[in-house]
Symmetry: C2
Subunit: 279 residues, 2 copies
């Protein structure tokens, strides 16, 4: 099968590597607004060819949309306008606004909305790696609006990686990703900023950065051009979860002020339950 990947960055590039390696794709065509990225992807043999969108489109049975989520909202309707029997998927971190955009499109059934839940703090084609997705979950959204044959093909694609599949409606997906991913990024940027400030004025901070900071500030390396569109599209959910997070921090703050370390201890024990779930 020939697959076109539009946007050859961390996610698109890593999918390209994996689907070529495992034989699900015979040929990967890359499409990227940045020709330097196309060249790098060719040199790294992540893609077999780089083509303009329209030509890539004609040659492919499956199109993977892997651009930042704001570009997806522009590109997806244009792509569906040209679809004959190709299957189109996106791999974005937000779903409600994207699906609103193609609601009622005559080719809506050819589109399957998916979100492979994996990533790193790095971005661009340089960041593409094999095995990024192994054994992780992909969320399929609103599958009832897609052609069952198309869904079946895309399920086969993700199972070939191999990934596990779960199904959510777009609204629930966007709330859940605010909890498990988007808030973590905001928190990380907010941990990094005062430390950078402190370092600038007094130095030494980063000499001492050990386990603590390298865990919680790691995501602060993430690319604003990827994440601003996500925060923009999922603003209301992110705000809800951010409020909840600030409230929890304020609760800790109050306990510190009151020196109520007994209650603080109880909350920490509760948080410890994350052990059972997070590897």
């Amino acid at each position: 099968m020939t697959i076109s990947v539009i946007g050859i960055g961390l996610i698109g590039g890593s999918l390209a590597i994996t689907l070529k390696e495992n034989g699900f794709a015979d040929t990967i065509i890359g499409v990227d607004a940045n020709t330097e990225s196309e060249h790098k992807a060719l040199r790294r043999k992540i893609i077999d060819e780089a083509l303009p969108l329209s030509e890539a489109f004609e040659r492919s049975q499956l199109i993977i949309l892997a651009t930042p989520v704001d570009s997806m909202r522009e590109l997806l309707p244009q792509i569906l306008d040209q679809v004959e029997d190709q299957v189109v998927i996106d791999v974005g971190s937000t779903k409600e606004l994207l699906l609103d955009r193609v609601k009622g499109h005559p080719k809506r059934q050819n589109f399957v909305a998916t979100h492979p839940m994996a990533g790193t703090e790095y971005s661009g084609v340089e960041a593409a790696i094999p095995n990024l997705f192994d054994e992780k979950y992909t969320v399929f959204c609103d599958v009832e609006d897609s052609n069952p044959k198309a869904v079946e093909l895309v399920e086969a694609l993700y199972r070939s990686i191999p990934m596990k599949i779960t199904y959510l409606d777009a609204k629930a997906h966007d709330i859940h990703t605010a909890y498990v991913s988007h808030i973590s990024h905001i928190s990380s940027y907010a941990i990094a900023l005062p430390d950078l400030e402190k370092e600038k004025h007094e130095g030494r901070i980063f000499q001492l950065a050990s386990t603590g900071l390298s865990a919680t500030a790691r995501l602060a390396k993430s690319a604003p051009d990827t994440w601003i569109p996500i925060f923009r599209q999922n603003r209301d959910n992110v705000l809800d979860v951010l409020d909840e997070h600030i409230n929890t921090l304020s609760k800790f703050r109050t306990l510190l002020i009151k020196k109520d370390f007994e209650q603080f201890h109880e909350l920490m024990e509760e948080a410890n339950h994350i052990k059972k779930i997070l590897e």
Copy 2:
């Protein structure tokens, strides 16, 4: 040299493994309030012998105090009361209150305050691992109050691991660790709690937990019995940094409310500078 390690947990146990492995210690004597921990440490051959404090003390040239920081404040003056020419070090995450406690003690010079900046989210003797400290920094505090010969011996100990050494006064140390370590732990507990709540009511959250959450919530696995004494002893600095962190988050919140994504983007770019520093 015979070294006693008091408190055979993540830090004490890992130091014991390393110092035995690299030959700095011929014999490691373990002392732990929990006899089950002593037995585990013996079975894992992390320690050569388990003895009560007073006997361990007589046999050792160097004593490493690696208990939770509240117990350190109790134990250190008692230990110094018995010191003849032994050298005593602590490896705790807070320094001001501990050093206040032994200020003016006739044997203060035999004590060297150190903080090897490394760790994991796990605790207890089960968590002790080799190579935990390799190439990380150890902070020496207020070395002018210690006997130069004692400082030299302890420098040799850390260099044997090998670790790099840096020097700070206790006050600066406690401020810096609030920034690079303590706030990260509070943030992590505060990220984990609403997710656990959401999971309890609606499920699915943890199926989707990917890079984001596993980075930022990892430290929420940490032991309250280790961390409550640290937060208690470093309360004022932790409160300052927590306030700063809540303010930064509130700034992000305001930008989301105002949909000022341009300013949001700028702050994220600023936070990206952490790339240059954090591995």
